[in-house]
């Protein structure tokens, strides 16, 4: 009997018990779908954090002001006297003293509202220096970024993030237009390209917001024009671009020592290295993948046991049929293949449906939970490989049982 005959025979056998076949398949369907869904969530998360970290600059070191006021009220007054928080002077000191610091850009952020005509937009007003562009890999889409001259004269000019532009001007040309922030009017001189990054948290430490919603003004203008409460830190953040990515850690160490000394030992800043965070998050991701893979794998094994169970029952139920076939000239391997192909068909069909479901589930997750999901192509090969292995692995024993039967014993079986 050739393979096509065996195949036809198995299909007919399976179709004669449609519901049972389907229920048997479910185990594999869910197992495969779970594997693919898990992997795609993992892959999506990985891509997302990769992009966020790229956006922060893979060769950057971030020094952030750390407000401890809320946590430790009692020390507040003494600390304030010792340190004024992160300052522009700190930024200059880093630039002057740290040899590996290629570019340094200070940043002061202010949560506020911007008005353009009738449109208002909740935004983050960022006071910074022209180096911002280089350090953060940002590009100007139209117009220009402000210059050192703008800085020196504290001009009231601003550059819009892509989303801020869309929200305030829709399709109008914003260049030359004036927007109002608090009591001050700013002239729009440029718009940045879309960075396309979502907000989130990396490694549970570094807050990443959607910087496309930011509005940028010269740091000097921001510090002069707006009213600041006494005792507030001058800067929110200093971003340092390091010329040699291999020296990130030692540079960070140097900056920690330098700023620590300038702050007289007051622990009011923290240093983050995006590249380091990337590696951490990848490690966490790996653990997540392994755990999820195990869970999905277990469901596949359960599915395989389901196949084995049904195949064993089917062999018992069809003992007479086996006897008849043997009496009419079927060889042991004809019977073996018949049952093996059946379980292989169940598992492969289940695998196929599982792959489709595995594609659909991440879509739904993306739609409702907003998580990014990516189905890597190799998971499909994996899914089919695994279902074939499950089909053969759990099908071989029942098929052997069937083939082992003596013709006369099988015929006599009641």
């Amino acid at each position: 009997m050739d393979l096509r005959e065996t195949f036809t025979l198995s299909v007919v056998g399976l179709l004669s018990h449609k519901l049972r076949t389907f229920l048997t398949m479910l185990g594999i369907i869910f197992g495969v779908a779970a594997v693919i869904a898990m992997l795609s969530i993992g892959e999506g998360a990985k891509q997302e954090s990769l992009e966020q970290i790229r956006q922060m600059g893979i060769s950057n070191i971030i020094v952030q002001h750390w407000d401890r006021e809320e946590e430790e009220d009692r020390e507040e007054s003494t600390d304030r006297n010792l340190s004024r928080g992160l300052t522009w002077a700190d930024a200059r000191a880093i630039s002057d003293i740290v040899p590996t610091a290629e570019y340094v850009t200070p940043q002061r952020e202010l949560q506020t509202r911007a008005l353009a005509g009738d449109n208002t937009f909740r935004t983050m007003l960022v006071g910074t220096t022209p180096e911002y562009l280089t350090v953060l890999n940002a590009r100007v889409a139209s117009g220009v970024f402000f210059t050192h001259e703008d800085m020196l004269e504290s001009r009231r000019v601003c550059v819009l993030g892509a989303d801020a532009r869309r929200a305030l001007f829709f399709f109008d040309d914003p260049l030359g237009a004036r927007i109002k922030i608090r009591n001050h009017w700013f002239t729009v001189i440029g718009v940045l390209e879309d960075k396309g990054a979502a907000s989130g948290k990396i490694g549970g430490v570094l807050e990443v917001r959607n910087t496309d919603e930011d509005i940028y003004v010269p740091l000097s203008t921001l510090l002069q024009r707006f009213h600041w409460e006494a005792g507030q830190s001058e800067l929110t953040q200093i971003t340092v671009k390091v010329d040699d990515p291999d020296r990130l850690n030692e540079t960070a160490q140097l900056i920690r020592t330098l700023v620590g000394r300038r702050h007289r030992g007051v622990d009011d800043f923290k240093i983050a290295i995006p590249e380091e965070l990337l590696r951490q998050s990848q490690r966490t991701q790996q653990i997540f993948n392994v755990v999820m893979g195990c869970i999905a794998g277990i469901s596949l094994v359960v599915g395989g046991i389901g196949i084995m169970n049904i195949m064993l029952a089917s062999v018992l139920e069809r003992t007479r049929e086996i006897g008849i076939r043997r009496a009419l000239g079927a060889r042991r391997r004809d019977i073996l293949y018949q049952f093996l192909v059946e379980s292989l068909l169940v598992s492969l069909t289940g695998g196929l449906v599982g792959v489709m479901l595995g594609y659909a589930v991440p879509e739904v997750i993306t739609l409702y939970a907003g998580w990014r999901t990516i189905v890597p192509a190799w998971t499909i090969a994996l899914a089919f490989g695994v279902s074939a292995t499950v089909g053969i692995g759990f099908g071989i024993y029942p098929a052997r049982q069937a083939a082992r039967l003596n013709p006369i014993d099988a015929l006599r079986y009641e």
Binding site: I324, R325, A327, L328, A330, R331, N406
Partner: protein, 238 residues
């Protein structure tokens, strides 16, 4: 290896079949010897439990003896491997069972095709030959009926068509009329007579004297041994 002493198709020497049931042993065949020539028509009779079915199953290569020798066409059955036995069941022997043993989910045509499937014959020729076999037993108009849509006699004729379809030289039948009424039984016996006339060797097991009368030789068993073995003068001469 040839162990044949004459040109018998079937040579049985000191055949023993023992079933062990717990502590007791049942000797279904107790050292039975029998030779059957080509184109003989033999009826095997005997009381219930005398070992008729056991003997026929061994002749049909469905079962293996516990002792003694069974030589089929000059070849010792105990020395054949499973594939060889399957080939013999498929091509050299046609077996007709008392309970028909048709596949309930397949129609008459598919049932008759079954031996051809295991001979590796293509589906076209298979269908063709199965149709002719069914026509030969007078069921040309029932090919698409499933066994449960056929009468007992029709079912047995499907089973006979299946036994014949691969052109075996030997036809074995274990009480082929046991489940049929007398008239239908007679029709089946006519089929066997035709087969015998065409040159087949026929061995059938039966309880009924009038069925045995169709044969040329009657072998009577008792307790796993041959009680008598005589030509049947009542059988229609060639």
């Amino acid at each position: 290896m040839t162990v044949s002493s004459n040109n018998a198709v079937i040579e049985i020497r000191q055949l023993i079949k023992t079933y062990t049931m717990g502590l007791t042993q049942v000797h279904a065949l107790a050292g039975l010897s029998l030779h059957i020539q080509r184109n003989e028509y033999v009826a095997i009779m005997g009381p219930s439990g005398s070992g008729k079915s056991t003997l026929l199953n061994i002749i049909g290569c469905l079962d293996m003896p516990s002792g003694g020798e069974y030589v089929l066409n000059g070849q010792l059955a105990s020395q054949m491997d499973d594939d060889e036995l399957a080939r013999i069941r498929n091509q050299e022997i046609g077996f007709v069972f008392q309970t028909f043993n048709l596949l309930p989910r397949s129609n008459a045509l598919r049932n008759v095709e079954l031996p051809l499937v295991y001979s590796g014959i293509g589906s076209r020729e298979r269908t063709d030959r199965a149709q002719r076999a069914l026509q030969a037993v007078g069921l040309g108009d029932r090919m698409n009926h499933r066994p449960n849509e056929l009468s007992g006699g029709q079912r047995q004729r499907v089973a006979i068509a299946r036994a014949l379809v691969n052109g075996p030289a030997i036809i074995l039948a274990d009480e082929p009329t046991g489940a049929l009424d007398t008239r239908t039984g007679e029709e089946i016996m006519q089929l066997f007579r035709q087969l015998h006339d065409q040159g087949n060797t026929i061995i059938l097991v039966t309880h009924e004297e009038h069925v045995a009368q169709h044969s040329r030789r009657i072998v009577r068993l008792r307790d796993g041994l041959i009680e008598s073995d005589a030509p049947n003068p009542g059988g229609t001469p060639v």
